[in-house]
Amino acid sequence: MKYPFPVGKSDFIQGDEAIARAAILAGCRFYAGYPITPASEIFEAMALYMPLVDGVCIQMEDELASIAAIIGASWVGAKAMTATSGPGFSLMMENLGYAIMTETPIVVVDVQRSGPSTGQPTLAAQGDVMQAIWGTHGDHSLIVLTPATVQEAFDMTIRAFNLAEKYRTPVILLTDAEVGHMREKVDIPNPEDIELVYRKLPANEEEAKYPFGDIHGDLIPPMPIFGKGYRTYVTGLTHDEKGRPKTVDAEIHRKLIERIVNKIEKNKKDIIDYETFELDDAEVAIISYGIVARSAVRAVKMLRNEGIKAGLLKLNVVWPFDFEMIEKIAEQVHAIYVPEMNLGQLYHLVKEGANGKARVELIPKIGGEVHTPHEIVREVKKCECGV
């Protein structure tokens, strides 16, 4: 297969561009979107590439339509993606819930900008963490990945497709204007070297009769995609294992929702991904994700130089969340610092995880600029040394 961009070598590209190329290499052949800063470059790159690789790229009338279209495409077997930013992401919430309820693999990229409302369109923020995790209504779960570099934006896009296919669920790639717009060197592997996952299809007619059951005991039903002669009915209403609406049966609702939540929860270890830096002997921990984690690495070095035993936990996945791991860290250190480009979002999860075993301090920053290492150091020192 011929690719419209160089493969098997490195390139110096924007984060948004990296996401588009990775999506193509992950097998994405359907993109629907609506322009919005700072995510438009993903769309524009997809518009260039998709027709050349026999994929579809279409500009819809809004974000509600964009996510709807990719769900439709997924049900006929396509790997599908959309990308947006805050206001558009808000519009997607109803259909994001539909994708969760109908267990439709899709990838949604949210290149965060500052809000609420149209806020600061060109500036970065991390204000959509809670929206990504809890934005749609009802009890649910999904997967949220947080890249910090352009290379990670590339790698995590491929992973996002793989996880979506594996767990039959929407995956959010939660990045930000900083990562989206910055240019960095990215190693683009040879397509043969990329490990790709495809959704489990029904092995036979009998399996196809249970598109929402747990016939393999792994909580993930095979997906009988449309047009294969299985004649499947899919609804966002509470449904039984065969997909039949059963809206007032408490037991059926409980079973369905618990399975949808548990297929993520019980596979947490497989999904969760993080990196640590100088954490082993740390007395003070910094927990960070996305672009801010890059300042945090430097801050840890600076703190160590000043005699404060700091360490970093960089989260590459913010949902599902490893509350137990945070508690373990909290047992080891006396304080955890959470620098975030918001007034406290992941902070709440960390605090819950710490479970009172360590002090948890938020280092907030809003307005569009990433924390400098100095700012993190200053805040930590203020608390640690009373400086």
């Binding site: 011929k2 419209p4 052949r29 359907f30 629907a32 027709p51 050349l52 026999d54 579809v56 279409i58 819809m60 009338e61 809004d62 509600l64 339509a65 964009s66 709807a68 279209a69 990719i70 769900i71 439709g72 495409a73 997924s74 049900w75 006929v76 077997g77 396509a78 599908a80 109803e94 259909n95 539909y98 449309f226 047009g227 294969k228 002669g229 299985y230 004649r231 499947t232 009915y233 899919v234 609804t235 966002g236 209403l237 065969k242 039949r244 609406p245």
Partner: protein
Amino acid sequence: MRFKLSYEIRDKYLRKDMLPTIFCPGCGIGTVLQYTLRAIDELGWSKDEVVWVSGIGCSSRVPGFVDFDGLHTTHGRALAFATGIKMARPDLKVIAFMGDGDTAAIGGNHFIHAIRRNLDVTVILINNFTYGMTGGQVAPTTLKGLRGTTAPYGSFENPFDIAELAVAAGANYVARWTVFNYIQGINSIKKALQKKGFSLVEFLSPCPISFGRRNRMKTAPELIKWYNKITVPISKAKNMSPEELEGKIVIGEFVDRDRPSLDEEYEAYKKRAKKMMGWEE
């Protein structure tokens, strides 16, 4: 062709384990469903090559009762989902079964844009002048002065003429009938299904329970009489003045043309892209 009995259609196309339907006695949705299945049957289409899509509302429950692949989506968004289905698998035929509120209120934007793009889908529209499922609120089709729970003193807004809207937006085929126009209804659906690009068959359909009851027409026969009074065939309407047409609804075939459909245009676009890149001659 031998006229098939209703139970033959039922046995061939309905999912037995989903019955009975949720529809009230006297509701027109089942009738339109039967017309649609008869049209498919007469065309000899396989159940495996058609996907049904719907939004939310009484009418949108239809895909659940038929033995086809079906996507029952969110309120108003059926055509946006259909865009993904059709564009990712252009060989599949797509039917969208929708309500008037679903289509013209919350889904209004998706509706006009699907038509503008000439998405190859057939919309079967149940226009019952109300929101049936939520209990009889006014819809964008409710005629002025008629009552709904959200306009208890009679609607004060101008209604949409959905068929005219579809013609103006560029649909390839548009027809409107009442559910009692049996032959015309089935023939129109047949035409619409065979048509590439966007096609719409709108049915004025009785909702005695949520709509009729509040407007002194408690039963389907009373609604039939009212439809007879307010509808005018398109041939006759051509010679009527705007004053004479005031408060009337025109029925018949509005447009029948063959503009290229979205998937055909996209095929050509892909070729153009490869040519411009020098990938193909």
